[in-house]
């Protein structure tokens, strides 16, 4: 009679594991105590993931006839593939290899050497007992649809879409605003080169708009995503534009003649106006305007229809209804970007109360030649040029009251603001910063340049912006904004009277980011940014296969990074589409027909619709739809549903292993009680 032959390999990971866990002890323990459970060889090695480490396993499989392998090293999310690959090369079914974590879950989180070693032994025992119950598996192969969905038409989304489309594959680009372009379209200059944002962005927008492989869905929302990698089905809602795009030529007469003028909180950041029917900006792609029914005189009062009367092609259609389309795609790129931090939340800075406190986005529009002031830097009165300007960094960022993270782009943006103020006005400029973060190509040189231009750099977190005088006779304060700050380099409090304050607001995830993440089955950090599959090695993939992310959806980043992300996501997808099919982890549920009684407990439990029931035929799980969560397995009262990769037998065995005699406390006690027990109590190192 032969049982499984298991090899155990304990990795030192340099000192990462061996510094805390006594790896030799774990090795010896495994051979001695787990020998009766099939362990025929146990080794330790400095770096199991090295080619030499892998060869060790391959050699043992060949020479010792191993048919199960347990590697005790790092997290399976790190190297499971590596070791499965090694087993595969040696002719062992890769799924008969179990990687158990004694690094992330033992050596890196514990300090007591004895206790950590004991736990590592238990973890190894869990792996050995579990892998004994594992059966050979084959990856599932599914076809992959060639089209890709890109959500978000900012620079990251546009970049991803163009890369995919240029390679010859169809793309659906969804944007909720009337035009693609995103925040970049609002900017005047880009740091540190001071290129004109529009000059570099609009050609890409036009390319995307004209590309035969790109279908634009602007003024639209993704309302539902179902299916799985290779075969997602996506419902997109087209909100009514009230403009027939087949007829509209984009001439702009409607916008010109529309009598309704409203503050534009989106594109103009609330500092300028738009019409009731409008294109957010002249270079908008697509060129068609949208009619905003909330600010349309006809929709409000029932009369007007000026646009309709004056449209030369009769393109205005007040009867237009929302429309839903469904597209089938193989992969998804999430590029939903950011929203600026709401500066009103920092009450001490008085945004919303003091007219001459602006946000950096307001400033972007103000300095933009196409913006509401035609590029003039003026106070809220629309006339007066400021004689002094304070730029406050880290508004809403690096602040435990708001967002703990650094918004990454604001230091450079603030320096750009300082430069633009100096360029356009005679004003004295103060930069009030905590730390100056300029770690990009040409960034620090730009910082130097702004210093040389005479900007006053004051290191200190601004406490307050006020118009209240501390002393009535204090010079120069009356009628101005006073910036109260501790100048940490000079070591004193300062009150700096200025005419204008620009708040460098941080970046936040869009308010509906979590909802979108849920729709896609991906996870966000507590801050709301999408979590990468691996922050360093897989920075544009998400936890859900087939869903990628790019740009600020992943966290604050600048334009070059967003463009690179978009291209990287596209490259990942192109690699898969070109294969034609995908190999998926074979973690699936299946029903044993003989044991299913048709009780129908499971029928409503699958959110992916993988479970079907037909009288006479019984219950079935569709492996193409099954995502492997295992809810139905645990729910089946007859035990008729089983799951590959995470079977009851495997998990029960692992529990037993994790509580292996000798690794838990009551062992000594219980053995003492049971007279004549065959087991000799292990001399136990009790964790401190």
């Amino acid at each position: 009679m032969t049982g499984p032959r298991v090899g155990v390999y304990v990795c030192h990971c340099g000192t990462n594991i061996a510094g805390v866990v006594d790896v030799a002890a774990v090795r010896d323990w495994a051979l001695e105590r787990l020998g009766p459970h099939g362990v025929v060889v146990a080794r330790d090695y400095p770096f199991m993931c090295s080619s030499l480490g892998q060869e060790l396993i391959e050699k043992d499989i060949a020479e010792l006839g191993l048919d199960r392998v347990v590697v005790a090293a790092c997290s399976p999310h790190m190297h499971e593939r590596t070791f499965r690959g090694a087993c595969g090369r040696a002719g062992l079914n890769p799924y008969l290899c179990e990687l158990v974590s004694i690094r992330e879950q033992v050596s890196w989180v514990h300090t007591d050497r004895d206790a950590a070693t004991r736990k590592a032994e238990a973890v190894v025992a869990g792996g050995v007992l579990r892998v004994r119950e594992q059966v050979p598996l084959e990856p599932l192969r599914v076809p992959i649809a060639p089209a890709t969905l890109v959500i978000g038409g900012g620079i990251a989304g546009i970049s991803a879409a163009l890369e995919l489309a240029d390679a010859g594959y169809p793309v659906h680009l969804v944007e909720r605003q009337p035009s693609i372009g995103g925040h970049m379209a609002q900017f005047d200059k880009t740091f540190p080169t001071l290129d004109c944002a529009a000059c570099i962005l609009t050609p890409r927008m036009v390319d995307a708009g004209m590309h035969p492989n790109i279908t634009l869905h602007t003024w639209s929302e993704v309302v539902d995503v179902s299916g799985h990698v290779g075969a997602f089905s996506v419902r997109i809602l087209h909100r009514p534009r009230y403009v027939d795009t087949d007829l509209c030529t984009g001439c702009g007469i409607c916008e010109e003649k529309c009598p309704a003028k409203v503050v534009d909180p989106v594109f103009e950041s609330g500092i300028g106006y738009r019409k009731g029917i409008y294109r957010p900006f002249p270079q908008a792609v697509p060129k068609y305007p949208v009619l905003d029914p909330e600010h349309c005189i006809y929709f409000e009062r029932g009369t007007c229809r000026a646009c309709e009367k004056l449209c030369p092609t009769g393109a205005i259609d007040f009867e237009q209804q929302p429309e839903e389309v469904t597209v089938e795609v193989g992969n998804i790129v999430l590029a939903t970007g950011f929203e600026p931090f709401d500066a009103r939340r920092v009450e001490a800075y008085g945004y919303g109360r003091y007219p001459n406190v602006f946000t950096s986005l307001e400033f972007e529009r103000m300095s933009n030649a196409a913006g509401p002031t035609g590029g003039r830097i003026v106070l809220r009165d629309g006339q007066t040029e400021p004689r002094s300007v304070a730029i406050v960094h880290c508004v809403g960022s690096r602040d435990r009251n708001f967002n703990p993270y650094c918004s990454a782009i604001c230091c450079m943006q603030s320096l750009k603001v300082a430069h633009l103020v100096r360029e356009h006005t005679e004003a004295t400029v103060y930069e009030l910063y905590i730390d100056m973060r300029t770690p990009g190509k040409g960034f620090d040189e730009f910082y130097q340049r702004v210093q040389d231009e005479g900007t006053h750099l004051i290191r200190g977190r601004v406490a307050e912006i006020t118009d209240v005088l501390r002393l009535p006779d204090e010079a120069g304060e009356d009628g101005r904004l006073i910036v109260q700050v501790e100048d940490t380099l000079a070591g004193r409090q300062r009150r700096i009277p200025v005419d204008m304050v620009v708040l460098s607001v941080g970046l936040e995830p869009p308010s509906d980011a979590r909802e979108m993440a849920r729709r896609l089955g991906i996870t966000c950090s507590s801050d709301g940014w999408v979590i990468e599959r691996h922050p360093k090695l897989d920075p544009v993939a998400t936890m859900t296969d087939g869903v990628f992310a790019a740009g600020c959806a992943l966290g604050p980043r600048d334009i070059p990074s967003s463009v690179a992300n978009g291209a990287a996501a596209a490259a990942r997808i192109l690699g898969r589409i070109s294969q034609g099919e995908l190999a998926l982890e074979p973690i699936r549920a299946s029903v044993d027909e003989a044991r299913c009684s048709g009780c129908r407990i499971c029928n409503d439990l699958c959110p992916f619709g993988a479970i079907s029931f037909e009288r006479g035929r019984g219950t079935e799980v569709d492996p193409a739809l099954c995502q492997g969560c295992g809810v139905c397995i645990a729910a089946c009262p007859a035990g008729a549903i089983s799951g590959t990769g995470f079977s009851d037998a495997q998990i029960l065995a692992q529990i037993e292993g994790l509580l292996f005699p000798g690794t838990i406390h009551p062992e000594a006690g219980l053995d003492a009680v049971v007279a004549g027990s065959a087991t000799t109590p292990e001399p136990e190192a009790v964790p401190a």
């Binding site: 009684s597 029928n603 035990g639 049971v674």
Partner: protein, 350 residues
């Protein structure tokens, strides 16, 4: 070799109500076939054979033993070991022997509490506080009452068991089927069933035999049968709010209870391969509770006032935990040294 005309059969009852024996008698005329095919060498419920006679039997002398009842006393344990030694095939027969059944519910409490309820608080007038006399010397020698063990164990927790026949009691027609099959195997006409097999029942659950119509499950309340105005004769009882254990209970009884409008109480034990009947059933029930927020879930679960009774009525002693915590610790009986046998409880005997 020639097959003996009649195989030797023993039928024993340990901690059992005798219902299993009655179910055998309920074979009616078929009992004559039994008598024809088997020579009954030991059946305390029906005939007089002394333990000494059994003790004198050679190893494996009995061809087949049907052992009903759980192991409650040292006498039960002794007979279990004795019959294991003397039997070729030992069958755990009925719910008590396979999973503890109703007597197993005593494992919720320490045995001292059980003794106190039975003897300390008698339901008859007992002014003197009568207590069993554990030993009595008579001219023929010393008489001794069996001592209680700290917990009730199933047969396979004490000795190795070849086959299990579930049911409280096993249905007579299924008994006939089991005896027929094992008889044929003993004759050499058929192969023995695989070791450890469950006989006299199917692999699926009661729902397979139940004629009621079923829909996808969503439970918004659990009710007692008395709380329902009327019961739809066609529709699944669980869907009507009755906590019916049928979905998790092994098929074999013919779904008699649900057919009569009473929810299945689970006497046939878990389906094939299920590790813990109660855990599995509670998982199934909870999975289809139609609520997402904890307060509402709580409200619905309040409809199951005695979850342990619901899920472990028959299977507690045979479950993963084998009983409640107060009965679980290592026990050294105090007070009456002989009434309760010293020794560990639950799984301590390793």
């Amino acid at each position: 070799m020639t097959a003996p005309a009649r195989h030797r059969l023993a039928i024993y009852w340990a901690a059992s109500c005798g219902g299993c024996d009655i179910s055998i008698l309920n074979l009616h005329e078929a009992i004559l076939d039994l008598a024809e095919r088997f020579e009954i060498v030991f059946w305390p419920a029906a005939m007089d054979v002394k333990y000494a006679d059994v003790e004198a039997m050679p190893d494996g002398w009995i061809d087949l033993t049907l052992f009903s009842g759980g192991i409650r006393t040292d006498e039960n344990a002794h007979l279990a070991r004795l019959l294991r030694r003397t039997s070729r095939i030992l069958v755990a027969f009925g719910s008590c022997a396979t999973e503890g059944c109703i007597p197993g519910l005593a494992n919720l409490r320490p045995i001292e509490d059980v003794v106190d309820v039975v003897l300390g608080q008698p339901t008859v007038v007992d002014a003197d506080g009568t207590w069993p006399l554990m030993r009595l010397s008579v001219p023929e020698g010393e008489l001794r009452l069996p001592a209680l063990e700290p917990t009730l164990r199933t047969l396979d927790q004490v000795v190795a068991v070849d086959y299990r026949v579930p049911g409280c009691p096993p249905e007579s027609e299924r008994i006939a089927e089991v005896l027929g099959r094992l008889g044929a195997a003993l004759d050499g006409r058929e192969a023995l069933p695989p070791s450890g097999a469950v006989l006299g029942a199917g692999d699926s659950t009661v729902c397979d035999e139940c004629g009621r119509a079923r829909s996808p499950k969503r439970i918004d309340r659990f009710a007692r049968i008395t709380e329902l105005g009327s019961i739809d004769p066609e529709r699944c009882l669980l869907e009507q709010g009755l906590p019916c254990n049928g979905p998790a209970t092994r098929e074999g009884c013919g779904a008699k209870c649900p057919a009569a409008g009473a929810p299945c109480i689970g006497c046939y034990g878990p389906a094939e391969g299920v590790v813990d009947f109660g855990g599995r059933l509670l998982s199934a029930f909870a999975s289809v509770v139609d609520a997402d927020d904890p307060a509402e879930i709580d409200r619905i679960l309040d409809g199951l006032p005695d979850p342990v009774g619901q899920f472990y009525r028959f299977s507690l002693a045979g479950s993963l935990l084998r009983g409640g915590r107060r009965a679980a610790g290592p026990s050294v009986a105090a007070g009456e040294p002989e009434l309760v046998a010293a020794g560990a409880s639950l799984g301590a005997e390793r």
